[in-house]
Structure formats: structure tokens, C-alpha cells
């Protein structure tokens, strides 16, 4: 699955997008896997309250299922307008 990062999440992790092989069943499980990878991931995912997630380009909750999902994106709260 493709995992995308935006704004300061992208800056902390250092890439805008990467391909991730995972058997995580939910976003929460994916976050736990990523956190375990490297310090930069642990830092980016330190406070989930400061993060939002989109699953296949729809805003979702962290307990959302990843079954059949092609793209997950992590980013801070939006500040458009």
C-alpha cells in the first residue's frame, strides 16, 4: 500500500510517499508498525491527537480497517481557506 505524508509529518519522516508492505488490519496497527521502524517515525507519530488520517483519500478514524485499501495518508489538522 502507498503511505503518504504531508506538511510537518512529511518533513519529519523525510519522504512524501513510500510503498509499505504490511499485514496491519487497521490504521492504528499500521501506526504501531511505523513507530517501531525508526526514530523519525516515532517522532512523527508521537502524538496521534495532533494527526489526521485519510484512507483512500477520505478522512477517517485511526481505528479504520485497511482491508482492500490502496492509499493511506497522514498529516496535521488542515489549515486551508
Amino acid at each position: 500500500m502507498d503511505v503518504l505524508y504531508f506538511a510537518w509529518v512529511r518533513e519529519r519522516i523525510g519522504v512524501p510517499k513510500e510503498r509499505v508492505q504490511t499485514s496491519a488490519a487497521t490504521v492504528q496497527e499500521l501506526v504501531a508498525e511505523l513507530r517501531g521502524r525508526e526514530e523519525r517515525y516515532a517522532l512523527a507519530f508521537a502524538d496521534l491527537d495532533a494527526l489526521r488520517v485519510a484512507v483512500d483519500q477520505e478522512l477517517s478514524e485511526f481505528d479504520a480497517s485497511l482491508a482492500g485499501v490502496r492509499e493511506v495518508a497522514f498529516f496535521p489538522p488542515m489549515t486551508g481557506g
Partner: protein, 160 residues
């Protein structure tokens, strides 16, 4: 409104735009649709209150999701109020102080529908469309923090 209901017009672009030119075009479309009441909102890059001077702003977005999120927000507004046409235009990339960032416009037979729909679009766009602002000032670079007041503003529209 003569009953013609057009798809919302969504534009996501890096290029600067003239809010007047956008309103002229929107007014012609609204007149054809039989609307009598038009509301527009325009957001400009402002200097930051305080000591630092803003050099420029950078807006990042999520291509693909941006367009679909803006379309959903516009369609929700068109479901709640008798508005048509509806336009949302939002820039991304680099922009200087005083330049327009974004614009929404709504048209209706009734002024309250046009006002409420534009107000709703702005509240949802602020907190639910995937844009992130970064300010580059004389003092450095910082991502703009989301405001609790913007998240709170969404509660006005809950349909309980």
C-alpha cells in the same frame, strides 16, 4: 431559481487569480440560472500580526483528495440550501502578502441561502479540505497551527 442545478465548479491551481474576474464570470452564470442573490468570500494573504514580517506563504495540498473533498463540501452545501451555481477556487504553492489565496461563491433565489451556504463552505473548507499553510517570515519558517475556533465552528452546522 429556475430550477437549473449545475455541478459545483472546483478549481485548484497554483496561479494567482483576480477575484473580480472570477465574480464577473460567476455572476453571468448565476444570472443565466435565474439566481438573484450572490455571495462571495475571498481570502487574502495577510501580514502576520506582531513583530515579524511575512515574506511569503506556501500551501501544500493532497492532489486527488483535494478535488474530491472540495466537491463533497460543495455538494453538501447544495443539498442543504437552494444554491446553484456554487464555486470553490483554492490556490496551492507560493503566494505573497495581499495576493488572493482562495474564493467561494454561491447563488440562490434567497439571500439567506446564499449567505448560509457560503459561510458553511468556508467553515468546512478550513478544517476538512487537505491544505496546509506554511509561513516564511524574517524570523524563520513555521507551519500554521489549526485553530480550535475553526474546529469549533463546524459544530454550528450539525443537523441534530
Amino acid at each position: 431559481m429556475s430550477g437549473k442545478r449545475s455541478a459545483p465548479e472546483i478549481r485548484v491551481q497554483p496561479a494567482p487569480f483576480d477575484p473580480g474576474a472570477v465574480l464577473s464570470e460567476f455572476t453571468a452564470k448565476a444570472a443565466l440560472a435565474g439566481a438573484g442573490a450572490l455571495v462571495s468570500f475571498t481570502g487574502l494573504v495577510r501580514d502576520i500580526p506582531g513583530a515579524e514580517t511575512l515574506d511569503h506563504m506556501e500551501i501544500e495540498h493532497y492532489p486527488g483528495m483535494t478535488e474530491s473533498a472540495l466537491t463533497s463540501i460543495a455538494e453538501e452545501a447544495m443539498t442543504r440550501w437552494a444554491v446553484s451555481p456554487v464555486l470553490i477556487l483554492h490556490r496551492f504553492g507560493t503566494m505573497r502578502p495581499e495576493e488572493p489565496i482562495m474564493m467561494v461563491a454561491t447563488a440562490s433565489a434567497h439571500r439567506q441561502d446564499a449567505f448560509l451556504a457560503a459561510d458553511f463552505l468556508m467553515d468546512y473548507l478550513k478544517s476538512r479540505a487537505p491544505f496546509w499553510k506554511k509561513e516564511v517570515t524574517t524570523g524563520g519558517t513555521a507551519w500554521v497551527a489549526a485553530k480550535d475556533s475553526d474546529e469549533h465552528a463546524l459544530k454550528r452546522w450539525s443537523e441534530d
